[in-house]
């Protein structure tokens, strides 16, 4: 797995470029790495080819916010909502609730060291 670490503005450009080139969004994966939340985007770009990009979001006590790509790629909608509700990272333009009840807050988020 060859993940490239990118910034949020870069992600918007990459999403537009890949959408134009006919790539597919596989999914968005959130992971908790202790001090940071990592949001990794997986794209299928051709036969046996994938591209992976990662945004690192430092934990700020639940006030993290990133911009999403569901306005470019409707396929990202559910995955962005899931990252938001499971890790407590707000994503612009999506409600941030899909699978979980309102009473449950960020179940996959761990305590910052």
């Amino acid at each position: 797995m060859n993940v490239k670490i990118i910034t949020q503005p870069e992600l918007q450009d990459i999403a537009r470029r890949l959408k134009g080139s006919g790539a597919r969004l596989i999914t968005i994966v959130g992971t908790d790495a202790g001090a940071n939340i990592e949001v990794t985007y997986f794209f299928h770009t051709g036969v046996n080819k994938t591209e992976e990009y990662r945004i690192i979001v430092p934990k700020q006590g639940g006030n993290e916010e990133i911009s999403g790509i569901s306005h470019i790629w409707p396929a990202a909608y559910v995955a962005e909502n899931e990252v938001s509700e499971m890790f407590g990272v707000k994503i612009k333009d999506v409600p941030g609730r899909f699978f979980l009840h309102e009473s449950v807050t960020a179940p996959l988020r761990r305590k910052a060291p």
Partner: protein, 359 residues
Amino acid sequence: MRSTIQFGPQHPVWIEPLRLKLTMDGEIVKDVELEAGYVHRGLEKKFEWDYNKGAYLSERICGICTQHHSTCYCLAVEGTMKLEITRRAAAIRTIMLELERLHSHLLAIGLTLEAIGFENLFMLCFRNREIVLDVFERTTGNRVLHGINIVGGVTRNIGPEMAKEIMDFCDVMEKRCRDLESMITHSYTIRERMKGVGVLTKQVAIDYSVVGPIARGSGVPYDVRIDAPYLLYNELKLKPIVEESCDVWARSVVRVRELFQSIDLIRQLVPLLEGLPDELAAKSKTLPEGDAFARVEPPRGELFYFARGKKSKEMDRIKVRTSTYANGPALVPVIKGCHLADVGVITISYDPCIGCFDR
């Protein structure tokens, strides 16, 4: 005057709970809201335990594509350990995956036919599906949750006698599927009821990144077995089965045609077992470390597992992206503008697995 109809969570057309909030103008659906999460079990959190038990757990995400789930989990975890499985284990896994496609497609075709009122054909599909389950029982000891995958290989062998039984099964199955195909494709009523209903255009299919027979029924030739071959698929002859009419009919015809593709693949795979040593599982000398992901093609479309190890027996993170997770949101643009009477047949043509969707 506009009115609102709650389609689900409990509805006779679905086996599992999903809710569609339909805003109606007379008989036409003007707006639709999708709500899921009724069977969310928090399995991704539960995966943060012993990696050897993960295959057992992953089988229980879905009751239909159990073998695909455990295979994909094992491939992802084996990726974190850089573990190569034996060729015999790979062949047995691949045979099981194709058998599973057969029974899942028969279930999906049967349910679609039942949704339009053909209960006899539904029974016929299930009668044919029964013999696939019998083969599973003979090879793995279980009909539904097969439990043969472990990280590093499989636990059950397919010997020469069983290989012959599988080849004989292919002959019986092909004949039965030909009969079924003839009944479906030559039925004026089925064709007229399904054609032009639930059109998911190619562009929308690409925008929503739909997978499996839904994508291939909309003219998108995306099949992980060809686009990212795993196990022994790169040695097999197969082409993506694509239909261009983008409707319920196209999705059903893709499934019917894939029945024969699966039978053909099993016939290609069984001879590969001959002469291979009876080594079923490889032992790893390391623990899961780092990130890896795996993709397989279940009957409903691409399944994705992301695994992160932390050099311990417990996994750090497992993410599961199932087929219905990708296909579910694409229900919304299709249902908007359709008749209320078509909502059931459109949703069932997507072959939704809510257990997979919610996890």
